[in-house]
């Protein structure tokens, strides 16, 4: 005869309510590990999806994700000449914040080196990749656009031609892909007035200097559009794919000899991300998750202890009529495991329903589910120890 199930049946509403409570607690534990996983996944997503072998960044920086990196666009051409390099593409990435329908809209702007890169590698769920060098964009669904929507940025209006799903930056903001020139234009969008002011400022600086007076022609030039154009556009990084069979380390070694750039492999880039910018958030959530597991264990212990206390008279009676300890142990352990199991199942379905409503991705992997199941089982067993201890120490004459 199974006593655990009969006892549960006898006080079913109370047991179910308890299971729901534990289920919600476990859902939070599950959610925490999902947020943790999501954070890492989001951080690595771009590096993973781009599939570059090497990242060339500003000398001595750990950019472009962990810190700002600026290198001239021209570096692209130099890199193409390195033996073993199949392709080199400029990488531009920056976050902008605009307003849309009264709500802040944060976009991670990505530049594609049109025409070599039209964004074919981007997992587009709807629409197409870029087909023109200007005024088209591919946006993530999380930004809330539809195909064909138009978005004014700077002095231009961009049309959404493709949509992706789940393409977000490390902050969880949706990615939008533009041609490289457009991306740079969005970043360095300066108003006409700002340009006029800058020209005047430049002119007055020239007047104050010797060179401005000895070479009057320079004063005229200072106010023209030509001078700003002298400086070539800067990009965040250049990403390289190597030839099939080429030795990546060898290519990296060649480039790292250059004094103006630094080289990171894709793996290196990932570990820079994990150890750098997302590290604190990751540890914070990790610790929180560990605390939640401990708290769940304590709460479950108390619940199981009270469940046992409620039955302590019956347990004493069972002992009096000669029941073995295994029967009593089984009663408590089975209830603990049923409670934990029910809570786990509830947590799973509650999470399935609630997690997609979260603003950032909550990724619960099969592996995490297995781990959590093991943890729940361990918690159930451990937390029943207090109750078991109480049950074992009760004397049969306490019935009287």
């Amino acid at each position: 005869m199974n006593l655990a199930i009969r006892d549960i049946r006898h006080s079913l509403p109370r047991f179910l309510l308890t299971a729901i409570g534990i289920g919600m607690l476990l859902m939070i534990v599950m959610g925490m590990s999902g947020i943790y996983r999501g954070l890492i996944e989001d951080a690595l997503l771009l590096v993973d999806k781009i599939g570059a072998d090497l990242w060339i960044v500003q000398h001595n920086t750990r950019g472009p994700f962990a810190e700002i990196s600026r290198i001239p666009l021209k570096t692209e051409d130099r890199l193409c000449a390195v033996p073993g390099v199949k392709s080199a593409r400029a990488f531009v990435s920056h976050t902008i914040q605009r307003e849309r329908n009264g709500k802040p809209l944060r976009i991670v702007v990505q530049g594609l080196s049109w025409p070599e890169d039209k964004g074919e590698w981007i997992p587009i769920t709807n629409g197409r990749c870029l087909s023109a060098g200007h005024f088209e964009m591919i946006a993530d669904q999380s930004l809330g656009f539809n195909l064909g929507d138009q978005l004014p940025l700077g002095k231009n209006i961009y049309t959404i031609v493709g949509l992706t799903r789940g393409m977000v930056g490390q902050g969880g903001d949706g990615l939008a892909f533009f041609s490289l020139r457009d991306a740079i234009a969005i970043q360095f969008d300066t108003s006409g007035e700002a340009i006029r002011l800058e020209r005047d400022a430049r002119r007055s600086r020239a007047i104050q200097q010797d060179i401005g007076n000895t070479q009057p022609e320079l004063l005229n030039r200072a106010a023209s559009q030509n001078i700003p154009a002298l400086a070539g556009p800067m990009v965040s990084a250049v990403i390289i794919r190597t030839e099939q069979g080429a030795d990546i380390d060898k290519v990296a070694e060649t480039i790292s000899g250059w004094k103006d750039v630094s080289v990171h492999t894709a793996d290196n880039q990932k570990s820079l991300l994990l150890k750098g910018s997302v590290d604190k958030a990751r540890r914070q959530i990790g610790l929180f998750r560990a605390l939640l597991v401990i708290i769940s264990a304590i709460i479950m212990s108390l619940i199981l202890y009270t469940l046992t206390l409620d039955k302590i008279h019956d347990i004493a009676m069972l002992k009096l009529i000669g029941a073995r300890n295994s029967l009593i142990l089984g009663l408590i352990l089975q209830q603990a495991i049923i409670l934990g199991g029910l809570g786990y199942i509830l947590a799973f379905y509650l999470g399935k329903w609630i997690f997609p409503l979260f603003p950032r991705r909550v990724i619960v992997t099969g592996n995490d589910l297995v781990w959590l199941a093991v943890i729940v089982l361990a918690i159930s067993v451990l937390s029943s120890l207090l109750g078991i201890w109480k049950a074992m120490s009760v004397q049969p004459n306490e019935v009287l």
Binding site: M1, L3, R6, D7, R9, H10, S11, H313, D314, M317, L318, K319, L320, I321, G322, A323, R324, L327, P396, N397, V399, L400
Partner: protein, 233 residues
């Protein structure tokens, strides 16, 4: 009737129980010796605080005596406070208990309350069910087999408790004021049932009672006062 009515169901020699120590010392039972033969029904009378329950729980292997020896059947089971056998196993195999309160397990039905006692003693659950049902019928509560204890009257609960005590055909039945919660008719019925079980199954029965009307069912009656036991004429 059984063959050897004079074989001992239990033999207690010089058992004493002292609770506490120093100022709070209570001598609840002092040098008590007696035997109960198989098939014999013995009554135990005495004022409140005389030590009746102490005696009952001592020989029931629930509450060990401070000194003295207890033999059940042929086995020496207690030597002073030391258990000479696995007492829990001994209890489930050889002793049946009935108390003033029925002490049924609240989440088990009447039938299951009897069945569990049998299953604890390794009776297969199908056989346990059959035997439990027989016992309930025998005690007149067969029709309430599927009721939980809280749906039964006090008397019905007590009869289920008696059925549970009889389930494993114990050689010793100990009852502490079993009829206190019953009306005189039901009380009488339970007493007669003990007599019947003693005579039919050859169990030794010890019943603590305050009810002087049922004295005639006892083969012998003891009286206890201030921890000492004497035979009542």
């Amino acid at each position: 009737m059984i063959e050897n009515i004079h074989e001992c169901a239990i033999e207690a020699s010089n058992i004493s129980k002292i609770y506490g120590s120093g100022n709070t010392e209570v001598k609840a039972m002092l040098n008590v010796s007696f035997t109960i033969a198989k098939g014999e029904v013995v009554g135990l009378l005495g004022p409140s605080g005389a030590g009746k329950s102490t005696l009952l729980t001592a020989i029931g292997l629930i509450n060990p005596p401070t000194s003295g020896q207890i033999r059940i059947g042929k086995d020496l089971v207690m030597d002073g406070p030391l258990a000479m056998v696995d007492v829990r196993k001994f209890r489930r195999k050889h002793i049946g208990y009935v108390f003033q309160k029925a002490n049924l397990i609240p989440f088990l039905t009447a039938l299951e309350n009897v069945q569990i006692a049998l299953e604890i003693n390794d009776v297969h659950h199908k056989d346990a069910r059959i035997r439990a049902m027989e016992l309930l019928k025998y005690l007149g509560v067969g029709d309430r087999k599927d009721n939980l204890p809280h749906m039964l009257s006090g008397g019905q609960q007590q009869r289920v408790a008696v059925a549970r005590a009889l389930a494993n055909k114990p050689s010793l039945i100990l009852a502490d004021e079993p009829t206190a919660a019953l009306d005189s008719f039901r009380g009488r019925q339970v007493m007669e049932l003990f007599q019947k079980v003693a005579h039919e199954q050859g169990a030794g029965v010890l019943v603590v009672t305050h009810d002087h009307r049922s004295l005639d069912v006892f083969d012998r009656t003891f009286e206890m006062e201030d921890g000492t036991l004497m035979l009542k004429s």
